[in-house]
Symmetry: C2
């Protein structure tokens, strides 16, 4: 299976333009033989939590899922992307969704670990256990940005059978270790594939936002932490061939079989 990660610059608070960019990337991804396009965290509005705190209304965000569904159906390729969503409790979530190539919603997720004071100005953290969906023969789940830096959620998903984690992200340029080390570790220790799609570094990012310079370095990591594909700093459509979960090296560690959850529970 081939997947495409969209590393690009989002236009702050300009969903129309950003949805057009996702549409164009979906077309290019399909041309490259990919079955899925993954776009970064909050790409639909731009990752500008400080600005979003005053911009967000339920009306402004209501149509984002339908528009992403339309792109998937129109282009005939599965689309996963990050966007803000209204919550039942009146707040907003940093959300992600996956639509199949017919435009049907396969999976929705809301970020559990918010990053820093700025995200907390605009958003509420979810407490909900991430769902796993069947899609094109894979067991797929979401994490968003900071979520994947914690070992616990990826472990819980792997224990329930997930084999592909889609991770829209917006990671700052001082934290290269997240793509280079933590994303690879989550793949290795859980024997699954992690696709981590970041915003491209921008020369003229808004200086009052927490993440003025993104890392780029969108990454797909696989068995034993192998880097299956990694982008540079700038805009790029990263096309990566991912292996089946079954393809572990003979003699490779089987962490899910060998871990000892009953004693960990006693320790914590």
């Amino acid at each position: 299976m081939r997947i495409a990660l969209m590393q690009a610059e989002a236009a702050p608070l300009d969903p129309e333009r950003n949805l057009s960019a996702i549409d164009a990337a979906a077309a290019a991804a399909l041309d490259a033989g990919a079955e899925l396009l993954l776009a970064p965290e909050l790409f639909v509005t731009g990752y500008v939590p400080r600005s979003l705190a005053s911009w967000l209304t339920p009306e402004r965000v209501a149509e984002f899922p339908a528009e992403l569904s339309r792109i998937a159906a129109a282009r005939g390729i599965a689309v996963a992307a990050g966007f803000p969503a209204a919550r039942m409790d009146g707040g907003f979530a940093i959300a992600a969704g996956l639509w199949d190539r017919g435009g049907a919603e396969v999976l929705r997720y809301e970020k559990v670990h918010l990053w820093g004071a700025e995200e907390r100005l605009a958003f509420t953290a979810s407490d909900a256990e991430p769902r796993i969906a069947d899609w094109n023969g894979r067991r797929v789940a979401f994490q968003i940005c900071y979520d994947i830096e914690f070992p616990e959620p990826a472990r819980a998903l792997a224990a329930r059978g997930a084999d592909l984690l889609l991770v829209p992200t917006a990671i700052d340029g001082e934290s290269d270790y997240v793509a280079e080390v933590l994303v690879r570790a989550r793949a290795a220790e859980n024997r699954l594939v992690v696709a981590y799609a970041d915003h491209a570094r921008s020369a003229d990012a808004p200086l009052d936002e927490p993440t003025a310079g993104f890392a780029g370095l969108s990454t797909v990591a696989g068995p034993e932490g192998a880097v299956l594909g990694m982008a540079g700093r700038g805009s790029e459509l990263l096309i990566v061939e991912i292996p089946d979960r079954a393809e572990a090296r003979p003699g490779a560690a089987d962490y899910l079989a060998d871990r000892r959850p009953e004693i960990y529970r006693r320790w914590s």
Copy 2:
């Protein structure tokens, strides 16, 4: 603080020779200004679990702790090393111990995650929660080899205040990702220092043992997964300066503060 990792070839089933090698390395480590020497997993007997299954007796292993204590006291430097130890239940543990520069025992540990069928022939896995000891202003704990590949134990130790994990190991040459990715991830996600000391690669390792060719690559990893020092493949005394735990970059992620254990418990 400066520490020394001993990456060397152990002589199979020849404790006298291996203890002499630890003694010589302790002297060299002290000369280099180190406060601690860390030797690999089962270094005292060699990492030869298949051979150890028939060799081990309580009498043969009884004096190892006392001999390591004597080396520490004679050289005036703390010594941590891996050795086989008799268990209360009649079996044997893959053990590690830390003695301070006066020869007093600071910490003892028995491996929780055994690797492969060969280790299970000779050894019994421990269920005990790892202890944390105060030593030279640090909060120190052990993991042994396969233990550190699981995120759960290191997380439990970090949550209880550990800031330096000593990890004697014996990792095969097909698993470089453990030193290069997982060891760095444990340091990054828990904001502590991990010192991972492996056997040197040997050209004439016994072919009937599971790990004929070791990886080498002894590593010390620190904040944000930084490689503070890494050995090559062969014999080497790796001298590494380690930072205080307090030295986190302003704005760095605080995973222990931001993790959400109450919801992880619901998920697993």
